[in-house]
């Protein structure tokens, strides 16, 4: 039995199903033998170092790349079908806005392709706070404004699956936060795959992680379940204290390695009992970094 033939052949509650998928460009595989199933609507953060295959994964699920091996189903249907494609939105890291178009015109272009009307364009403009920019040429906008226009496209029409490839790159923290909030609102009843390089953002937005390293699926599961063999915190005290002298120092912080986050309250209590006046405790290393090793 091949991996592709293991896919369910009838309408399914499984939103995305990959079975033994290898995919890449010009017959050269970037992704190798990826299999997973996604049913629960929430944010799945796709993590991996540069060149790991995150964009290739998104393009393959979106039907832009044909897998070299294996198969993909969207709610039980092959992702090659029009009905499957109608269930998903894909946001690329490239803007994809035709040259010489104004903001409103560009969204109208995609609205026509999506089969929705002017009302949807107005709503997307409002949602991304683009009304003041709607008559500006896309090429004249700043990088952040361009990204907002690009993101607005996925709000033209409601779908069940959102594949968002680095939606907050090039955005200032305020706008990035607003877009993350919109995506979090979406994820209450939608499946959102969200790729990011930013490990702190990943923990902020996602509850599940899909880690791709070297083209292979290295982790698929709950972010909270990720346990590492070390957890590093920085302790900043009001004044130097002998109880801290055993620890190495980085800037203002004494670096303490503990088994996990659950050990931090005990450490703080212990140091306080010894008379250390603690000003700040901060995580010095994100546990998600272990996924990249």
């Amino acid at each position: 039995m091949t991996a592709a033939s293991m896919l369910s052949a009838s309408p399914s509650h499984t939103a995305i199903e990959l079975a033994g998928v290898s995919s890449g460009y010009f017959r050269k595989a970037v992704l190798q033998d990826i299999s997973f199933q996604i049913s629960e609507p929430t944010v799945y953060v796709v993590l991996g170092p540069n060149g790991a295959g995150k964009t290739t994964l998104f393009r393959t699920i979106a039907g832009i790349l044909s897998p070299l091996q294996g198969g993909i189903r969207i709610f039980g249907e092959s992702n090659e079908t029009r009905t499957a494609r109608e269930k998903l939105h894909y946001l690329s890291h490239v803007d994809g806005i035709p040259e010489g178009m104004r903001v409103r015109e560009a969204l109208r272009f995609y609205a026509t392709i999506e089969g929705v009307g002017e009302e949807a364009v107005g709503r997307a403009l409002q949602l991304l706070d683009l009304e003041a920019l709607q008559d500006r040429y896309f090429g004249q906008l700043s990088q952040g404004q361009k990204k907002r226009v690009s993101v607005a496209r996925v709000f033209l029409r409601e779908k069940q699956i959102y594949l968002l490839d680095e939606p907050t790159s090039n955005l200032d923290p305020k706008v990035a936060g607003e877009i993350r909030d919109l995506i979090l609102r979406l994820s209450h009843d939608k499946v959102v795959l969200y790729s990011s390089h930013n490990l702190y953002e990943a923990r902020e937005i996602g509850s599940r992680v899909i880690a791709i390293v070297g083209g292979h699926l290295s982790r698929f599961g709950r972010i909270d379940d990720i346990r590492t063999d070390r957890y590093v915190v920085g302790i900043r005290s009001m004044s130097p204290h002998p109880a801290l002298s055993a620890y190495p120092k980085e800037g203002d912080y004494y670096i303490v390695e503990v088994p996990g986050p659950e050990s931090v309250p005990g450490l703080v209590a212990d140091l306080s009992a010894k008379g250390v006046q603690i000003r700040e405790v901060r995580e010095m290393e994100n546990p998600l970094e272990s996924l990249f090793r």
Partner: protein, 244 residues
């Protein structure tokens, strides 16, 4: 977010052609204007040059239709410019994800180029027909034959061939071609079939000459349909991605 319309209604060939025609006219307006103006200028020059001999109607009727395809090819470049620009901007990555087939994208560009040719042929053909009528008091059969049997099929087929050949070039070139390569070289590819007709017409026996232009046009249409069919293969999609 409650729109229920199906994207298949919007993403069809008709919608894409309408959008691409509008954009091709905007992007390629200089080529379109130049081709139309040149065709009218040549018409005017022929009239001035031949008015002394009184044979203007005959000359316009027999010479001009054979030159119109060249202006058609040049006037249609806007459609190819839209393709190359959209490809480099990543527009096709989105269209494919919406379920728009690569053959539909290709066909929409080819059809848009044919609409541009129609504009050139309509203006230049109409103007020359009026001049012939003014000079001879009728639109003679030889003019109509030259126009509809030679000029129109050759202009449409050479343009479709040029557009598609350059799209394939832009898609398969490695390293990836920018806009200058395919668009800059396109007129040479488009005028190539017209030169073939010109040369073979001079060499062919007289009773075969009238079939050369329709024959070449038919062969070009066959090549265009074959290329569009090849462009519908799934493995071609990655050729439509941006290099950004």
């Amino acid at each position: 977010m409650s729109d229920t319309a199906s994207p298949s209604e919007g993403a069809g060939l008709g919608a894409l052609v309408r959008i691409n025609v509008r954009r091709a006219v905007t992007v390629g307006r200089i080529y379109l204007g130049m081709a139309t103006a040149l065709s009218l200028l040549v018409t005017g020059l022929v009239v001035v040059e031949t008015s002394r001999t009184g044979a203007a109607g005959t000359v316009i009727g027999s010479v001009l239709p054979s030159e119109l395809p060249i202006f058609g090819v040049v006037g249609s470049l806007g459609a190819l410019m839209v393709f190359v620009s959209d490809k480099s901007k990543g527009v096709y990555e989105y269209l494919i994800s919406y379920g728009v087939d690569t053959s539909v994208i290709s066909a929409s560009i080819v059809l848009a180029s044919l609409v541009l040719v129609s504009i050139v042929l309509g203006v230049a053909g109409g103007a020359s027909a009026i001049l012939v009528y003014v000079r001879t008091g009728a639109v003679p059969a030889y003019y109509l034959r030259e126009f509809f049997v030679n000029a129109v099929p050759l202009a449409f087929s050479a343009t479709a061939f040029m557009t598609l050949a350059c799209m394939v070039w832009a898609a398969i070139a490695s390293p990836r071609a920018g806009m200058n390569g395919p668009v800059g070289f396109a007129p040479t590819i488009g005028i190539g079939p017209l030169l073939v007709v010109l040369v073979t017409s001079g060499l062919a026996p007289p009773d075969l000459r009238m079939w050369i232009a329709p024959g070449v046009a038919l062969a070009l249409v066959g090549i265009v349909l074959l290329l569009i069919a090849l462009l519908s293969r799934g493995s071609v999609r990655e050729r439509f991605l941006s290099t950004l």
